[in-house]
């Protein structure tokens, strides 16, 4: 009992210095973001006068410029379409595939699983050039729906891997009960497996949403300015800014790209950080 007191003091000192380090790090994380947000309300003259100062008033015209002149409004819609389209396609593709691979043994089941596993090592950035050539030969460049297909296809290996892992964890008894009740292959999939895989779908959906919304290289490679998604549009806005020196519009553009992910993160942060540990432990 005697040792308690100094230990408490030591702990207090330790905790206080730790808190200081944590607060400092938080500032390093948060300050750049805050800077972008408040700068997006400054006029270019205000910005050139002092990049640190707060805006004198809320100058919404930067947003109007970014949305109308720099097309960020159209790009926003494109991004929403591509993200939702890819997500839908991804699930249509991986749910039956993961079901077949996780619940049945058939002639090539091992081989097909291995084939998809090999895809875990192939990043779409490594193969972006041949993907471009294939789409060019088929005359499918600059097409948002085709981009959805490519997104879904290149992200399939990892998501099939996650979903088969998840589906393997569902007890056989449920399936057998469904079969006794007269469910066939598809009936079992829709009435038992899909409802029971919902937590897995959420994890996959959250991560896939983020990666589709933020994807840049493929979009940059296959799209032309009339069909840009937000990240490509933002890069373009930065290039334009260098010559036009419309600082305000660029910062507004940054906020427009950032906002949806911030809101989304606020909604699903628990899912994201816990899903990550699940994937990490498995990997």
């Amino acid at each position: 009992m005697k040792g308690r007191h100094p230990q408490n003091i030591r702990r207090l000192i330790g905790n206080t210095s730790l808190r200081m380090v944590l607060i400092l790090t938080s500032l390093i994380v948060v300050l750049p973001i805050l800077w972008v947000i408040y700068t997006s309300f400054k006029t270019s003259a205000e910005f050139l006068n002092n990049p640190w100062a707060l805006p004198s008033s809320l100058n919404w015209s930067n947003y109007a410029n970014a949305i109308s002149k720099a097309n960020m409004g159209d790009y926003f819609m494109n991004s929403i379409g591509v993200t939702l389209g890819s997500l839908g396609l991804l699930f249509v593709l991986i749910v039956p595939a993961a079901y077949a691979l996780s619940r049945f043994k058939f002639k090539f089941s091992k081989g097909i699983t291995m084939l998809f596993m090999a895809g875990l090592f192939i990043n779409c950035n490594y193969i972006v050039v041949p993907i471009f050539m294939i789409l060019k030969d088929m005359g499918l460049l600059n097409n948002l729906f085709v981009l959805c297909i490519v997104y879904a296809a290149t992200t399939m290996p990892f998501n099939i891997y996650l979903l088969t892992g998840f589906m393997q964890g569902i007890a056989k008894e449920y399936e057998e009960a469904a079969q006794i009740d007269g469910c066939g292959y598809w009936g079992t999939l829709f009435r038992v497996i899909i409802p029971m895989s919902k937590p897995g779908f959420v994890t996959i959906g959250v991560f896939a949403f983020m990666s589709y919304w933020n994807e840049y290289i493929l979009a940059l490679t296959v799209l032309k300015p009339d069909h840009y998604t937000l990240p490509v549009g933002l890069k373009n806005l930065m290039e334009v800014q260098k010559f036009a020196t419309d600082w305000g519009a660029m910062f507004a553009g940054l906020v427009i790209v950032m906002m949806p992910t911030m809101v989304f993160y606020a909604l699903v942060q628990k899912k994201l950080t816990s899903g990550l540990s699940l994937g990490g432990l498995k990997g």
Partner: protein, 303 residues
């Protein structure tokens, strides 16, 4: 299911096989078209001289690789990639481990707040982060230089992305800013699984927190550390591509070029598709070799 198979009537079995085929075919077809075939093409095209614009391809064997070997720009790109691999991996890992251990061990009430906050940069698009840091580093109006001038360190203010000496470090810092939270969350998940009794026993033996970290925490999450090392390799290869593309595009004078940006430039700017694919083959080999090497080096008997 499998044991039921032999009792199944033939008709039902065929029906099941058809259902399995229908389930797998769309996924396999798209996977073959957009992943396997392009990968195969990378290796095949690396043996050709091809502008990508015409139909004319000339088979030249390994000549692209011999040219690569004598290409100083390629060596710079490789060197820069390896620099970023080592610099970003080391710093990110140290910071992520430190914060993960500190947050798990100290039972701070606001622990979860920091977990959520530090993870946040990870959900932002790399383009957002790249544009953001380009503005931070901007020589005249950027907040870094104006901060340095404001506190009287005028001589330190410099064009961070415009000078060959600082550009890679500046990009590396942006990459670390982005990555630390992700790995911290992963390590925290591992550390949460360590039984508190181990630390209590160590406390009784009088072991300091520092010793506990190396004797308990690190060995207990060794498996996760190994996995993340492979993640670091692939993600740094990819992230360096995105960050360099957005922030400098290889400037100044190729001193921030990395392997993937060089591949991209050779293909789409210089119309050297064969040569670009030779670089891609090297990238495949580097990624694969590094993953294997790091796996062997970190292998440890679980005793």
């Amino acid at each position: 299911m499998t044991n039921l198979k032999k009792y199944m009537p033939k008709k039902q079995q065929t029906r099941r096989n058809i259902a399995i085929t229908v389930s797998l075919l769309p996924a396999l077809a798209l996977y073959a078209l957009f992943v396997i075939y392009p990968t195969f093409n990378v290796f095949r095209t690396s043996m050709y001289q091809w502008s990508g614009l015409s139909k004319q391809k000339t088979f030249i064997g390994f000549e692209n690789f011999i040219r690569l070997f004598n290409d100083t720009k390629f060596w710079t790109a490789l060197q820069n990639t390896i620099f970023l691999l080592i610099f970003c991996t080391a710093i990110t890992m140290i910071l992520a481990l430190f914060f993960a251990a500190a947050l798990t061990q100290s039972k701070l009430k606001e622990k979860n707040f920091y977990r959520v906050l530090f993870f946040f940069p990870n959900v932002l698009s790399i383009v957002v982060i790249g544009v953001l840091f380009s503005n931070i580093y901007e020589p005249n109006m950027g907040i870094l230089n104006s901060l340095l001038r404001g506190i009287g360190l005028n001589h330190l203010a410099q064009p961070w992305l415009g000078s060959g000496k600082t550009v890679l470090w500046a990009i590396g810092v942006a990459m670390i800013w982005q990555a630390v939270g992700y790995y911290m969350v992963m390590y925290m998940a591992g550390m949460d699984g360590i039984s508190p009794e181990l630390y209590e026993a160590a406390d009784i033996d009088g072991a300091s927190k520092f010793v506990q970290f190396f004797k308990i925490t690190i060995p207990m999450i060794w498996g996760i550390l190994r996995v993340t090392l492979v993640f670091f390799i692939t993600s740094t290869l990819n992230m360096s591509f995105l960050f360099v593309n957005v922030m400098t595009d290889g400037a100044p004078n190729g001193s921030s070029e990395v392997l993937l940006t060089y591949m991209y430039r050779q293909a789409f700017t210089n119309a050297n598709f064969g040569y670009a694919m030779a670089i891609a083959v090297i990238i495949f080999i580097v990624a694969f070799a590094l993953a294997i090497i790091s796996n062997i080096l970190t292998k440890k008997n679980d005793a």
